[in-house]
């Protein structure tokens, strides 16, 4: 087990290094640089001003020197300094990371939980109205643009019905503590997490359903029936446990989609996460922040992968013991 973890961490480090280098080069392909952006925002500039900024940001050095200094500092877990915000990138990211983690984890749990649940129901009522309903809804979720859902949800639940807060992470300066604060954050989390999880939920519904129908044909399900077990128990104990294995694998692989999709959701719901930070850093050519977010979100995806792998190992004894 330890060996497995070490191997994984080692591989992850290599992947992260590649991501750093690739993105570093990619970002510098973009037109303009942070100095130009800041000049543009200030509504004034002269060559001296821009030269000052470039020197301050270290942009006057040759690209390979910048790359080397960046990579070597990342290797020491130092993500550098934000040109614009005059703050260490790590601080900026750490401020935002909890929000994104909360959002993507909740979306992950919601999509997987509800997806598997609905898929199970659909599979066990194959061909009946419940199945048709679930499959149709899943198909619609699968085909609807996320942001459109988000906008409609805000209109309905926030503006019209006033049930849920329409934006933000928590009520600003509410002074809530303890349970009150948790509930407040939870209320803010509902819409973003559901919207983000919706698409993947649809994916998992379809996958679970298909997988369960597939597993249903296995001999051991027939064995279980021959024992005289109740169908519900067979579905839960024999079919579902085996059927979710491919779903879990897929979920791990799609973590990248989840973390990536957060950009969109964070925009609509003003969720103060790193997706939004990335988008802004991109527009502002705040290279270090952008790279930092990429490194951290890639690390998040790797973490999701690892978690699903571990979950897989827990469920499947065949992998556990080899």
């Amino acid at each position: 087990m330890l060996g497995f973890l070490l191997t994984r961490v080692g591989k992850a480090a290599v992947v992260l290094l590649c991501i750093t280098v690739l993105n570093f080069l990619l970002i510098h392909l973009a037109p303009g640089d942070p100095a130009m952006v800041m000049a543009g925002e200030a509504g004034e500039a002269d060559p001296e001003f821009i030269a000052q900024l470039r020197a301050q940001f270290g942009l006057d050095r040759p690209l390979y020197v910048q790359l080397w200094s960046y990579v070597s500092s990342v290797a020491q877990l130092d993500l550098g300094y934000s040109y614009r915000q005059n703050l260490p990138v790590l601080d900026l990211i750490l401020q935002r990371l909890p929000a994104t983690l909360l959002l993507s984890l909740s979306a992950f749990v919601i999509s997987l939980g509800l997806g598997v649940l609905a898929g199970t129901i659909a599979a066990s009522r194959q061909g009946k109205p419940a199945d048709t309903l679930i499959s149709t809804i899943a198909l619609l979720f699968y085909a609807t643009p996320l942001f459109w859902f988000a906008l409609m949800a805000v209109l309905l639940f926030s503006v019209k019905l006033d049930w849920l807060p329409g934006y933000g992470f928590e009520t600003i300066r509410s002074g809530y503590t303890g349970m009150e604060r948790v509930l407040d954050i939870a209320a803010h989390l509902v819409m973003p997490a559901f919207t983000l999880g919706l698409f993947l939920m649809a994916v998992y519904v379809r996958m679970t359903r298909a997988s369960m129908l597939e597993v249903n044909k296995h001999d051991y399900v027939r064995t279980a029936r021959a024992k005289g077990l109740r169908p519900a128990l067979i579905q839960r104990r024999h079919v579902l446990r085996n059927a979710i294995l491919p779903v879990v694998t897929l979920a791990g692989l799609q973590a990248g989609q989840l973390v990536g999709g957060a950009v969109l959701i964070e925009t609509v719901f003003a969720w103060p996460g790193i997706g939004r930070l990335m988008f802004e850093a991109l527009a502002q050519r705040d290279y270090n922040v952008l790279l930092g977010v990429f490194v951290v979100s890639a690390a998040m995806v790797l973490m999701f992968n690892l978690v699903t792998d571990l979950a897989y190992r827990l469920v499947d004894p065949r992998i556990r013991t080899t």
Partner: protein, 278 residues
Amino acid sequence: MLDFLKRFAGNRGAVIGALLLVVTLLLAIFSPMLYPQSPWAIAQRPFLEPFTTEGYLMGTDTLGRNVASGLAHGAYISLLIGLISTLVSLAIGIPLGACAGYFGGWVDDILMRVTEFFQVIPTFAFAVVLVAILQPSLTSIITAIALVSWPPVARLLRGEVLALKSREFIEAAQLSGQSSTTIILRQIMPNTLSPVVVMSSMMIATAILTESALSFMGLGDPEIMSWGYMVGAGRTVIRQAWWISFFPGLAILLTVLAFNLIGEGLNDALNPRLRKRG
């Protein structure tokens, strides 16, 4: 083939999907004839409600442009983006996956590391960065979508090829003196066709969704009237004029739905495991 068509036609969803797609295709083909004027033309007063004025079935947008015309012209663009980006990702994913699966060993190791690498980068965020860096244009959007969508293709192909490689007919082909290239192209590839076709239809759907999401983030090509662009442009006035973003949104939904339904239909019709069930 006839058999396949029969099975496909037996799937109600697939038939609906195919019909929807045909409508979209007709719209794309005949848009220049239906609406000869440029969809950008400011033709009427803005915010004309739908179903009220002849010739403006779906109303006009914030600038007085014909929504129906935009929808018709956008069909072509959306299909184009979906199709080309899918073709490009297939062009990347299929050879990579096939080589990884067939040759195994270090080739597989390296190619799969590369694939993993692309899968670890958050998909949509990466697309956003690519489009922003290359500057929004039809080419950059297609490139970005293709670059983030090929890894599943490579994985699928690798899996299929791995499974096929151990099939005895491949060994028989090796024994009959055929070269690796011949074996991959003639013996293996045709057998991976059905999962690839199924996946492609889903990928086209996802590509159309991604393009619309990019447009929403302000990363659309300003020169092309796509559905994503229309939704993005109309969303700010969604409270005043629901129809501007509703119709293109619906068009996206239906087209994506069509491709998904077709994908499922193809899957049922092509997948021999499920075939037995019917």
